[in-house]
């Protein structure tokens, strides 16, 4: 009986925390946001703005790009505010200054506009590498491969079954 109470307590606690849950998130959104804004093939290393990877709140303005985008035209970028970062980047590029155009061109090539070093750091997964061009936005090839394998397997099985 006592143990039933324990089980009940465990389930209630699990339920409570489960209800609070929604989708997965983490806090390192800015590289992804910059990748999107600048049309890069990889998410740039934190180095581009922070000088080091991982960057912290204390290192955000150590590089020129980070310092420029942090507050542009009086629009500050708050923690996790990727929209503000994208807006600042767009406004910076729109300014059309030679410096901004250089940043745009270099980032598109995956190069640090300040140091000329490649910004595509390590990639993860077995055999992963940075491709020369971005993947198609809606690449269904994986799904077709799986479906093809399932259909082929089914046909082979059917053939074997008929032979019996």
């Amino acid at each position: 009986m006592q143990i039933r109470k324990a089980q009940l307590a465990a389930v209630v606690m699990a339920g409570f925390l489960g209800v609070l849950s929604s989708n997965a998130q983490a806090s390192q959104e800015f590289p992804g946001a910059l990748q999107e804004a600048a049309g890069m093939t990889c998410a740039p290393s934190c180095v581009v703005c922070h000088g080091v990877d991982p960057g912290t709140a204390q290192t955000f303005r150590t590089r020129k790009l980070g310092d420029t985008l942090f507050i542009y035209n009086g629009n500050p970028v708050a923690p996790h505010d990727t929209a503000a970062l994208k807006a600042n980047y767009a406004a910076y590029i729109k300014s059309g200054t030679p410096e901004a155009l250089n940043v745009q061109a270099k980032l598109a090539e995956g190069i640090d506009p300040e140091t000329g070093i490649g910004l595509c750091g390590p990639t993860y997964g077995c055999g992963a590498h940075i491709a020369s061009k971005a993947p198609a936005r809606h690449d269904w090839s994986g799904v077709w491969w799986v479906l093809g394998a399932v259909v082929t397997g089914g046909l082979l099985r059917r053939k074997a079954w008929r032979k019996r």
Binding site: A10, G51, P79, G127
Partner: protein
């Protein structure tokens, strides 16, 4: 487009192999000389007289996959005792006797398939005391090579255990309950050669200051180990979805999505062989043997040394020794082959040795040396060496208090000398309910000035010390379930309030 093929390791340099061999030539005799022993998932278990890990974990240095015995311990001594009795001495399933009979010494050597309920059940069927059956198993299987070791201590314990424990008649309810700690809440009865487990950790981060509420699955893993005689094969597989640029989960990826998509991950996978009951050699992707094996992977002492169990594992070969008073493990690191390109892979060694100088007190040393062809923190193609060397200690004061600590020196190419340390007090005045207070400090060292560039300023954590304080409450509610709340304040950061749920299969 990303490649999904297997990594073609570019002619795995003979030189690297030679270096590994050289390291092995030096490290192995040193290892044998120093005769090292264990690291822990819940290192504070030392206060209950469990200074070592392999009795409860498949990993000889602790963490993740539980043995049958570990599951039993989790229920009897780790989780809150809802029965209202005084714990191990009065368990109604015959499990108490196992605890009484297994001294920590016997735990050290007995390991990986210990403590299934089969023994107790078989003993019941035979009309014998389950404890005796277990003692026989401990003597017969645990330390065949050491007649004066655990076996004798078991015998001693047996002779001291008078009067004999009377096994209560099992009723239907107790039979049902006794299987609950087993895999999948007792739904399956696994054979002795197979260990299976899984973990789901859900994290909630509450907003304080400018932050926003965040909730995400922090861990979603299945793990297992098969053992055939002295040979074992095991590993973990799971899923993770993290933001682009996240330092978490990425290094354990199997699939190659680099964005915010789900990825299949494997933190560990290995082949192992028990050379003797005390010595195990494993090859594969393994937890780095270093320091106190705490579960808090974001604590600086694990994160800044890249020795956490979140995704800092590396491929390599490790040899672990678990003796009566001494335990340890040393690993030759071949690099993380789930990260590309090769120039970023760390190679070298990592190891620790820990000596148990009192029943509930240990002291140990750890050492790590790695080098890579490029600097992952700046992306520059500069050969980068990283060394971490330190001391650690664990002590239990009765069954209610435990103190853990570690201090390490950090030596990195093109940086000043750095250091990291932590001290954690664990209190458990009610079984299963832990209140923890932790202090930590970190200074990774100031980056050396580069000619022609501005000298980087000293900031907290890089040239100046930064400090952190944790107040935590962990409640092991019941077998398979625990919850934890942490309030963390670190130099230059807002207070973080974390709440997590952990369910293991």
């Amino acid at each position: 487009m990303q490649s999904f093929g297997l990594a073609k390791s570019p002619a795995q340099p003979r030189a690297a192999l030679l270096v590994l061999l050289r390291i092995a030539l030096i490290a192995l005799p040193l290892f044998a000389l120093l005769s090292p022993k264990p690291a822990h998932a819940y290192a504070w278990m030392i206060k209950r007289g469990y200074p070592s890990c392999p009795a409860c974990h498949a990993d000889p240095s602790g963490g993740e996959l539980l043995t049958g015995y570990g599951r039993m311990i989790s229920t009897l001594t780790l989780s809150t005792n809802w029965g209202g009795s005084d714990g191990a001495a009065t368990n109604q399933h015959g499990l108490s006797r196992k605890l009484a009979l297994r001294s920590p010494e016997s735990l050290a050597a007995h390991a990986k398939s210990a403590g299934t309920d089969d023994n107790a059940e078989a003993a019941k069927a035979d009309g014998a005391k389950p404890a005796d059956a277990d003692a026989n198993k401990a003597e017969g299987e645990a330390k065949p090579a050491d007649s004066a070791g655990a076996g004798s201590s078991n015998s001693d314990a047996d002779s001291e255990e008078e009067p004999p424990v009377v096994v209560p008649k099992a009723n239907k309810a107790s039979d049902e309950e006794s299987t609950f700690p087993n895999f999948l809440f007792g739904a399956f009865k696994l054979p002795d050669w197979l260990l299976l487990g899984g973990s789901y950790r859900h994290m909630n981060i509450f907003p304080i200051g400018d932050g926003k509420f965040r909730t995400f699955p922090m861990m979603l893993d299945l793990y297992g180990q098969m053992k055939f005689g002295g040979f074992s094969v095991g590993g973990s597989i799971g899923g993770a979805r993290v933001a682009v640029g996240s330092p978490y989960a990425r290094r354990a990826q199997i699939t190659t999505n680099q964005g915010k998509e789900w990825n299949l991950i494997s933190r560990t996978h290995y082949l192992g062989y028990d050379i003797t009951p005390e010595v195990t050699v494993r090859a594969g992707r393994l937890n780095l043997p270093f320091g106190v094996r705490i579960p808090e992977h974001t604590m600086w002492v694990r994160q800044a040394t890249n020795t956490d169990r979140e995704s800092s594992q590396q491929h390599g070969v490790a040899i672990a020794y678990v003796g009566d008073k001494l335990r340890g493990e040393v690993m030759g690191i071949a690099g993380n082959y789930q990260m590309n390109p090769d120039k970023y892979r760390d190679r070298g060694y990592s190891g620790f040795a820990e000596y148990q100088f009192a029943e509930t007190a240990t002291i140990g040393v750890s050492s790590l040396y790695t080098f890579a062809r490029a600097d992952r923190t700046t992306l520059k193609d500069l050969r980068t060496m990283r060394q971490v060397h330190g001391v650690m200690g664990r002590a239990g004061f009765g069954e209610k208090l435990a103190l853990l600590g570690e201090v390490d020196a950090i030596i990195t190419s093109r940086k000043d000398l750095g250091y990291v340390g932590f001290l954690q007090l664990d209190t458990e005045f009610v079984q299963g309910l832990h209140f923890l207070a932790t202090a930590e400090t970190l200074d990774e060292g100031q980056t050396d000035p580069v000619p022609g560039q501005i000298t980087p300023a000293k900031v907290a954590g890089q040239g100046k010390p930064k400090f952190g304080g944790w107040l935590s409450c962990a409640w092991f509610i019941y077998s398979h379930f625990d919850v934890r709340v942490d309030a963390i304040k670190r130099t230059g950061e807002d207070v973080s309030l974390l709440a997590q749920l952990h369910v293991y299969l």
